[in-house]
Every structure is written in C-alpha cells, then in structure tokens.
Symmetry: D2
Subunit: 405 residues, 4 copies
Amino acid sequence: MAGNRAVVYHGPGNVTVETVDYPELVLKPGPGVPEGNKNRQCPHGVILKVIATNICGSDQHMVRGRTTAPPGLILGHEMTGEVIEKGRDVERIAVGDLVSIPFNVACGRCRNCQEGQTGMCLRVNPDRPGGAYGYVDMGGWPGGQAEYAMVPYADWNALKFPDPDQAMERIRDLAMLADIFPTGYHGCVTAGVTTGSTVYIAGAGPVGLSAATSAFLLGASVVVVGDTNKDRLEQARSFGCETIDVTQGDPKEQLAQILHRPEADCGVDAVGFEAHGYGAEAGTEAPATVLNSLMDTTRAGGAIGIPGLYVTGDPGAPTEEAKHGSLSLRFGLGWSKSHSFTTGQCPVMRYNRGLKKAILAGRTSIARNVNAKAIPLEQAPQGYAEFDKGMATKFVLDPHGLIPA
Amino acid sequence: MAGNRAVVYHGPGNVTVETVDYPELVLKPGPGVPEGNKNRQCPHGVILKVIATNICGSDQHMVRGRTTAPPGLILGHEMTGEVIEKGRDVERIAVGDLVSIPFNVACGRCRNCQEGQTGMCLRVNPDRPGGAYGYVDMGGWPGGQAEYAMVPYADWNALKFPDPDQAMERIRDLAMLADIFPTGYHGCVTAGVTTGSTVYIAGAGPVGLSAATSAFLLGASVVVVGDTNKDRLEQARSFGCETIDVTQGDPKEQLAQILHRPEADCGVDAVGFEAHGYGAEAGTEAPATVLNSLMDTTRAGGAIGIPGLYVTGDPGAPTEEAKHGSLSLRFGLGWSKSHSFTTGQCPVMRYNRGLKKAILAGRTSIARNVNAKAIPLEQAPQGYAEFDKGMATKFVLDPHGLIPA
Amino acid sequence: MAGNRAVVYHGPGNVTVETVDYPELVLKPGPGVPEGNKNRQCPHGVILKVIATNICGSDQHMVRGRTTAPPGLILGHEMTGEVIEKGRDVERIAVGDLVSIPFNVACGRCRNCQEGQTGMCLRVNPDRPGGAYGYVDMGGWPGGQAEYAMVPYADWNALKFPDPDQAMERIRDLAMLADIFPTGYHGCVTAGVTTGSTVYIAGAGPVGLSAATSAFLLGASVVVVGDTNKDRLEQARSFGCETIDVTQGDPKEQLAQILHRPEADCGVDAVGFEAHGYGAEAGTEAPATVLNSLMDTTRAGGAIGIPGLYVTGDPGAPTEEAKHGSLSLRFGLGWSKSHSFTTGQCPVMRYNRGLKKAILAGRTSIARNVNAKAIPLEQAPQGYAEFDKGMATKFVLDPHGLIPA
Amino acid sequence: MAGNRAVVYHGPGNVTVETVDYPELVLKPGPGVPEGNKNRQCPHGVILKVIATNICGSDQHMVRGRTTAPPGLILGHEMTGEVIEKGRDVERIAVGDLVSIPFNVACGRCRNCQEGQTGMCLRVNPDRPGGAYGYVDMGGWPGGQAEYAMVPYADWNALKFPDPDQAMERIRDLAMLADIFPTGYHGCVTAGVTTGSTVYIAGAGPVGLSAATSAFLLGASVVVVGDTNKDRLEQARSFGCETIDVTQGDPKEQLAQILHRPEADCGVDAVGFEAHGYGAEAGTEAPATVLNSLMDTTRAGGAIGIPGLYVTGDPGAPTEEAKHGSLSLRFGLGWSKSHSFTTGQCPVMRYNRGLKKAILAGRTSIARNVNAKAIPLEQAPQGYAEFDKGMATKFVLDPHGLIPA
C-alpha cells in the first residue's frame, strides 16, 4: 500500500489532511507515544479500512489549544470500518467483518477490563489508567480520522455487525456507537434516567443530543436541553425535546415553566470544563457553572451524570485554579440534596451492543437527532472549523466515499 | 348514601351485579375476611368513588372455580377513582384527589413495605404475607368493581394524579396502573429487559400485551409474543410485536425465524398455571409447559420474569401434583443455562409513579395496546363471559358513566 | 408529669441542661420551628422515655457557632428508648416497646420515603427536603438529648428490638443505630466496599470509626484510617485498622507503605466541611482538603462515599466562598479517574435493621470500637466540651440512669 | 519432559493415577473433546505446574456413574499452580507467576465474557455455552488433577498472587478460589445475603461449608446449615454455624427453634440433584426435596441461591422424569412468596479477586472451615473413595509435594 491519508494536528487551529504511514500491527514511536508503549507489538490487533470516522467535541479541546497535545498527532477516536488484515492472535474477528470500535483502547485482560471498566484499562497506557485513539495523554495510539487505522486487542474491542449490508444502510447511526451515543447514554444511566423520569441535559452539542436521544430510549417522560446556541436548541426541539436558552435567564425558572416544578429528576452535564457563563458571567468562561447549575436544578435525592469532560490540566483556563483542574463547586448544596455524581470516560463496551441492536431494529434515530453529515476526509479541516463555530452538525468523515447518500 | 352497586361472585361461572353496603372506614366481617381482620378499623383509609375498575385475568381464575373463593365475595382489584371521604389520619391525600390504587393492599409500616416489597406486606393479611382487594386468601379486603370502595392506608397506597382534568383525558391508560401495566413491566424488568434486548413473552392476554408495551418502553429491539389465540396475536402485531402461534409448532423454531437465532435475551411468562399445551399436548392443561418452553427459548445467562400467577392449591387441576401447586419443571435445563427466575405479585408501587409520568407525557399507549374497552358496571357479567372466551379486549368497568367516549 | 430535663443550646459554646416542657403529640412553636410546622398534630407519634441519647459531631458544628442554630434549641438526634405513650394512629408500635429512632424524621408517605430515601423526606420540613431532631434548618423537631421526646410517624420510623432484656445488654451498641453506625456504613456502601476491598477512611472521629467497623463487616481486607489526632488513631488501631497520621506527610505516600500501592479501592470522607489542612496548610481550615486528598488516594474506577457533612452556608468559614458552601475541588482529577461521589444524610432506615441483627448476634462491637462512654444527662455540657477537644470517646447520655455499667 | 501423572476416570467407581501426555498449547483430540475443539491451538495458553488441585463433589457425580462422562477423561477443575511456559499471545501473565485458575474455561472475548458471565462463555465449547476442565460435556478441556496442565486464555483466566512466598503460606486457603469458595459465595450473593441476614444453607459438604463461610464474610447474623451427615454438621458447628440434622424432622420446625421464626431471610441450595429424602422419603433419592424445602423455609420476599448442580440428563436417576432433569417443584408455593431463584455455574472471576484479598489479609479461614486436607496425587483414588463415603474433608491433591505441612 502506498500510504494513508489522515487528519493531523499541528498546533492550535492548525489541522491538515496529509499522507502518513500505512498502519502496521505495532505501536510505532511517534507524537505522544509514551516510552513504555513504543514499539509495542500488536499481534492481537487488526487493520481497519475506516468507513466512517467522526469529529468529536473533545477533539476540539485539542485543536483549540486547550491541551498539551503534541504536533503531529493523528486525530480521531470514533471509528467504524471493515477489517482488512488481522494479527495472528485474533480469533473472534475475521477479515471482512464490519465493526464499530469503542474510543477507549482496552486490553481485555486487566482487573478494570474484567470488571467492565474499560475506560480505565490499566495496561494500554503506561502513564495512567485509560487509553484512547488520537488523543493527548491517552497512550499515544494513532487516531482514526484516516483511511486506515490499527486497532489493538481486536477480539475484545471490536463490536461486529452481523450483516454488513444491513449495517451499511444505517451506517450514519452505527457510526455514533464509537463514542457519543454510548457517552450520552452513560450520562443518562448514571443520572438515574428510567421510565417516566424528567431529565435536564446541560448542553445541546452532539453529546447532549445523544444524551437526549438516550433519555427517550430509556423511557424519560420529559427531556429538557439547555444551551446558549439557538441552532443546537432548534435541533433538540426537532425530535421532541423541550429547550432552555440559558442566555435568557436562570435555567431553574425556565425549567419550572416546563415541568411545573423547578427541578428535574435527573441531571446530565454534557458540556464539561469549557463551559461559558450566562447572566452576569455571560461571554466569559465559567468552568464550574454547569455543575453548579445542575445541583440547583436536580431534585433532592437525584443523581447527576457527568459525561462532559473535565481535565487535570488546562493551560488555557481563565484562572490559576482552573489551570490545575480545580473548580469552585457549590458542594454544600449538592450534599444537602443527597446528590450523587458520576464522572469519567464512558466505558463504551458496556452499552454499545444494546444500542447497536436498538439501531438495527429501527428503535432510535441517533444520526438524525445529532444531524450527522458525511463529508470527505479531505474536508476535515472545514468540518473542524464549522463545528468549532457551533454548527448544529455532527461531522462524519468518509475516507473512502462509501457512506451512502 | 343508599347503597353501592358491585360485582359479586356466587360460585363458578356465576357473577352478578347487586347492591351491597356502602363502604365505611372499617373492614367489616364478610366473605373471606380472616378472623384477625374482622372489624379492623381504618382511620388511615379513604372512600373512593370508583371511576374505572377493570376485569383482570386473575379474577377469571376465581370465576372459573379454580380457587376456593367464597360466595359473596365482591370482586375487583384494579381501581382508579376520586377520593370522596377520608379518615382522620389521612394527611397526604385530600378529598377531591384523583388517584390510582395499586392492587396490593399494603400497610406502609412493616419491614417488607419499608424495603419496597409491597406485594408481600406483613400486616394486612393475618393468614400470610400479601394482601389484595376482592381476592381469595388475600386478607378479605372487599373488591373494587363497585361504585364505591374503601382503600386502607391511603397515604401510602394511593398514587395521585396532579391534574384531574388532564388525567381524565387519559383515564383509560391510567386505569392500567392499578395492576396490569406495572405487572407486565415487572415481568420485563425481572427478565432483564433493557435497551436493545430481544424478548419473548409467552401469553398475549392483557398482562402479556402490557409486558410487550413495557418491553418497548424499556428499549427492547424485538418483542415477540406467543399465544394460541389468533385475535390476541393480531392485537400484539398491531403495535409492532412479532408473534408466534404456538399451535403451529415449536416456539423455538418460530423464534429462530424471527430473531435469526433460536433464543431471546429475556423471557416473560404472562400465562401462569392455567397454561394449555400445544403440539402433542394440545387442548389439555399443561401447567408447566410455559416455564419449560421459556427455559428452552431464553439464552444462556438470561433471566425469566414470571408475572403469570402460580398458586399453592388448585382444586380444578388436571393432576394430583398440580392440585398442590407442584409442577414438573425441566430445572436441569434452566440450571445448565444459568437462568434466574423471579416470581410473585408485582409490587405495583415500585413502578406506578414512573409509568404514570410516561402515560401523562404521551410516551406510551397502554390502553390502545391492550384494547381497553369501557363498559357500564352493570354489564360486568357479560364482560367476564366475553373475556373468558378469549376476546382480545381489556374490559374497564365504568360505574358512574364518567369515562369519556 | 412535672417536666423534662433536656440539653439546650444558647449560643456558641453555651450548652446547658434545664427543664423544658414535657413533650406532647404535637410540634409546638419554638426555636427553629418553621411557620408551616407550627402546631403540627402528630397522632402518628409516640412519646419516648429516652434511655440512651448520644452527642454527635454534627451537634458540635452548631455548638461551635458554625451554623445559624437558634438559641433555645433542644439538641440531640440519636435516640434509643422506651415507648410510654402512643398516638391514635399508631398500630405497629406498642407502649412498652424498646426502639431505636433514626435521626432522620420521615413521613413514610411521600415519594422519597416510598423510594427509600428517608433522608430527603418531602413532608416533614416545609423549608427543604429532609428533617431531623434537634437540628438547625431541619424542620424544627425538638431534640432528643432529654428525658422524654416526641417521635412522629412512629410506625414508620421506629425500629423495634424484639426482646427488651436482650437489647438492654447491648444498649451501648444499639444506641449507635440512630445515626453513626448506619452513617458510617452508608459511607462504605456508597464507596463500593465489599469483600476484599482496601479502604481509606479520612477521619477517625466516631463516624470514621463507625465506617471502619462497617468496612470490616462488609468484608474489607485492609482498613486504613487517617486523622491528625493521635488518640483517635490509637482507637482505630485497637480494632485492627491501619492508620495514617496526616500531620506526618502526604497520605498517599503513607498509604503506599501500607497497601504496597498508593491508592485504595474505596474512599470515605468522614470529616466534612470543618476539615483542617496538613503540611503547608497545617493548623488552618481547609474545607476541600479531604475531598481532594481522596481523589488522589482512590484508585481509578473507584468510588468515594461522603457521609461527612457539607453545608450550604457556613458563617464561620475562613473564605467568602466557603461561607456559601463553595469548595475548590480538583474535579478534573476525579473525572480523569472516573470517580463517583455519593453525598448526603444517610437514610438510616435502609441499614438499621440489618445492623441491629448483626449487633444482637454479636457479629460487631461498634460501642467498643467508637469507645462509647455513658454519662448522666446532667453532664452533657462536660461531654460536649471534652468531645470538642478531640477526645476519642463517643458520649452516650443516660437520662434515667438505666444504662448498665 | 517425560510425562505427566494424572487422575483418570475409567468408568463408575474406577479412578486411577497414571502417566498421560505432557500438556502442550493445543487441545488435542481425546475423550470428550467435541469435534469443533479438536486440535484447537492455544497460543493464549500457559502450562501450569499444578501445586494444589482439589477433588470436588461434582467430580463425584461423574465417578458415581451419574453422567455420560467418557472413559479416559482426566479429572479435575480446581487448579492452583505455577506458570512454567506461556504462549506467544500471553502478555499479562509471566513464567514464574503463582496463579489460581477458575474452573470455568472462558475466552474473554465473547458477549458473555464481556458481560461478566464467564460461566456461560460462548466460544470454548462448541456444544453449548460454558466450559470447564476435566468435566463431561464442558468442551473436553483436560482436567487438572495432574502434575501439569494447560490453561487457555491465560491472560483472561488466571488470577495472580502478587507475592508467591506469602501465597504459599496460605496455599490451602487459596486453593479454594478455583471453585468452591466463589461457588459458595455466589450462592449467598444470589440469595441476597448481606449484613444481618439469617441464612439457611441446605448441605454441609464443601460447597455448603464454603457458603457458610461466605455468609459470615458477608455479615450474616445467623448461619444455619442442614444435612443428614453428623460429621459434616459437626464441622459446620466448629466455626459458628447453627445446624439442623434433617434426619431428625422437618427443617422448618428446627429452624423455628434456632431463629425464633420458621423462615430464614435467605436460602442456599448446596446439595443439587443427588439430594436424598428425609422423613417418609428417608434413604431414597428425592431430587426436588431441597428446593421444595427451601421454598418452605425462606421468608416471603426472600431469594434462593442455587449453586448445587442440576443436570439436563441423569441416567442413574430414580424416575423417568428425573432422568431428563425434570423435577416436581412446589412452584406455586415459591410464587406465592415472591421468591427469586438463581441457578447455574458460578462465574468465578466475578468473586475470586475479592476473596483472594480477604484470604491474604487473614479475614477468613476457608481451608480450616472446609477441613482441607492435602494428600499426594497418587492417593487420589482413596481420596475419592473417602469423600464419597461422606467424610467431612476437602481433599487437596499435592502433585509435587509442595504444600507445606
């Protein structure tokens, strides 16, 4: 093979598509690869011909320069594709299989994997628990916004679609299984969403809309989504959500008008550390504002799911404290309401099989709800730019032109 | 008040509507009232003007003479109505409230109630754990197929609809909260139904159809319902279920055609002890046939929810063993597949609040799915007869002519 | 009856024992009683002859002047006693019963009580969810550090000891069921403690020692307790705990020496908002220090239980932020480790029955482990003073001289 | 290596120790190996030098001729040992590691393994879900009552002891992690045993005694064990259990004397299909008697854990029905008490890590409680014979003479 077109990060605001090495069943030294992972052999891996690979809001954190991501990093952690080569120790997955790859890289052999916490795998990242593709500090595994990519521990990680033809008909939906659909679902599950729940989801980006879709799938009675972006709120309304424009005043008051009480049963933070203030804080970053608002708007005894990303270090943060990942939280308020808080990367494997079956049976329309739009891989830089402007679109890169119109 | 029209059981096949005493806040001696419950004072009770009160399949067990129900018993345990009088110790519920009453009579003060097992209340039935209205061996609480009925421990038991006008618009749906909707939902929950599950429900009577409705609400991908009754199967298909006519051969083979594998993730027994055989056993009662079939058709590692009623004594059973509630179960098969089995009366209170919110938000159409049909209380005998013939209808008695057309 | 000796709060550092009104089955207007609770009738209540009533660390928050507790408040929320009078609505509890009273006042009739969240009862406190005896902002229910006290909703709240004579032999242990034993146990349960867990408990006061006792009961392999108080650490070692003196350096390093790894499976915050710093912060209050330390010392994928009290307002706090209950938390660290956090008042009823049975069977020695010491009610002021100095003792007030030596 | 001494089954009552082939990293054709498993390559496997390997009650089912086990089968599924060779795909486990091997053979790559149901692995047995070593119908994996054995998927299956020297000091206890300790623990967990529970365990063989040990570890207040064998009951009493000699009358009456009520909170069936009757049925096999008794002696709302083995076919059964694994169960009784029933092979991996930590910390004495006795491998036939006579001993075979006295 001659090469491999891929999306490469070069510095804040600088993303290009270029030709990189064709992947092999080894983790070669490269940008962000920790010492302990260099030249790690992957006979348990497969080479994926990438059919759909999405741009994620968490990619934006890097591209905006809010992390220590190294130049040269191949981006992308939301891969769906066809297995075209497999390592000698791969048994369950076969060449020709169409698969979804969870964004978490997991070994399937450590305590955390055995206990279902694949987001905190202990063996794929020498620096700390948890690995991911194309992401800063997550083990250095090359990203999947590319024509081809390597997936280690494929028998453990890959989720197979039994009928490739049927799957290709729903490929836009299935592409969301790699990250945002399970991530939104995890937010709802950990917020306690079940039949009849009222749910307030802060954030109407793709994860927020995935959480809203999940809330309906879990039986929620009323799903309310809050944001500052009118297009995204419009998108939320398009599939039955109620919405709150947080630029228009206190979410609690608006919630009271919708629910006839000022608190929802369940709260989901689908924003994370780059939250912006509203009201008096409008226009400035206010990293604790979403969590504080959720303590205010979640009922006593309720739970708050936090799929939105918070980081240990944020060089671009507005305050010294926030630079070190410290937030000023109204913890006393949460405590007085007996809230519970669940944080962290979604362990995708816990949910993707069930969500796959729901998609294939036509029970949910995640691609429509997040406004998935397929674009050629070569247009990735434009996709990043438009998404960064707040466009209510989930961009699906289509490296081989295989996604049906 | 002059009296109270009510449905009274007089013996096998003999049900009439007659005038009985207007209820008071006391459990007066009467048919089936145990010694320890006679003259039990109920200052914690309310008098309900019954607006909707359904005929249940479990009433049929009594009317068919398959129990030791005493003549003179007022039938009915599925009540929805308006509170028109309350005891001195009722605080939370007010006169004028529109409420759903769980079929379980529960005290709200014993260990089991405190732990959420309201189906096994230890204080409302001196003979054994668990109470119900209008039912043999369940404490002697008079039934609710009547114009008026007494509900004890109303602050604990009654589920209030916040807006009576809104509730009256969905009264047919809300009437199902007293029993069959939570019962079917409990069957699914205990069978492990969740997002993406495939579910096989044995029985397309009202509980089976409620289970199917619940399965969709819980996110099931494919819901398959089996029965011998073509009308009921047609009803199941009308809201998206796949169906199996068990008179046409082994359910496992039919399931394989639908699911592309011979086993479902989850199994629900919505039939109970009056099951009939098929194939070689066609036409005869075969009380173990459903459970044995479910062990065959549920995947290894799956669970089986058993809302269908099994009894400790069945005077009309075909065999000596079955007369004592013993069944010949292929337990070794279930064990080899690591099945779990959950039995018993549904603890309605665990589910009815969430289901209420789902109904009021328009997320489910239980009345339509079970083909609810309102008829005047005076037509109860015809309702019993038609339901007994296998009509695919859930009869809702309308004692005061208040159910909107 | 002539009167009722009781412990009364008069202002910071000022606690006396004096004669107050003998209780009746009504919540009379008094210090801290909200408007909506004044003259609330309690036919569901009982009058308790208080046999054991403990001083709690959370009482100290008030006595130190760190709350807005009103002068005249009768203190005490940890009551064990004999029922000597009962209201007309009381059925399950009888005069002569020996009972433990959960510190949460709960109605047993609202949604939260029905769902087992008795710490967040919606009907006993007009100001916000959750009630307690003798506590600021918790509904104004008079405290139980008295000869006699009124307990509302007794059929729901009171836990009965089946054999009073047997119970009196273990009355010091059983007295801990009202609060600290379930509270410590809740901390462990919500931290995920189970067979084999390693547990780090911050705080060796009575709640910390209760948590440690609970951790052993739940099967923990290694229980480590950290504090600055040498006597309390000695007490922890006396029943098998490992200890960390946080004045001697970073808990993480000390933990690594004990566990051979720097993180425990589970973390419990048994300190709360009055935490003090160590190292560079030694001697000063540092309300976020315990939570931040627990994020550092709990393994990725682990959970943190937070029975330690955090408040919505703390007039005596060292910073403006802390005065409003805001803490500077290293939330990014917790998020990166997928921690979950459970806060709030323990719902005592969820645990006290099981713990009672464990005590009566001799499986645990909670009184010995927390160094319970019975003193006459009249010595309550000295008890408060000594406890405030950090004495490793749990004071049990003995209003009637009935606690066996 | 020249060969491998191993315990071989030759037919009912006929067990010998002989020299078999030294294991390789392949499943070679042999007795009981299904077609689809013949010559299965195992680069993911390790060769274990077996240090401790126990005789299990379920081995006895085969040796008594109650199964279709083929002659030539190498027995044994409870292995602990040292890794002396590893396949190319093994990463986590190293040569020299001391490990416990769960009796379930599991691939770590299928849906059931991913979901933690390692007892129902879908890929190690072509005939049906679930694999085991040395067992009929479980995939044909050679047994571990041998000097050396092959363990497939070692990175997934093997549980490592961090410090081999420390582990050798507790090797008798750790040897129980391969099967009976987790199996008994699973029985208790699925029966709902928690702090304060009263538990009735039917059967005082090694699994019953393991369940009793587990019940204490889980915090049970009273643990009652029933059997017909006086020596085994004596063994149960030796570590604090109450006992019931079921030859002396109805268990329910005896239970009432111990617990002051006739029912326990939780029931565990540690007997299985070879149960014997008592009372009128004394001396005969009565395969349903234990389950029926547990429905009688478990409280309404309680759960029944069933680690005791039930089979799909039993050629030696006393009745035609039992030959096909059908039992006459008083299911109506269980249903009326809302019992739940959990069956199946224990998924050892779910529990063995926690139990290991409890053993290493000295929190439990499983070897002492089951009366573990190490004997040379060559004495295996005598061990089988004595265990079959009902000796209250758990035999641990010691192939290399390495178990300390």
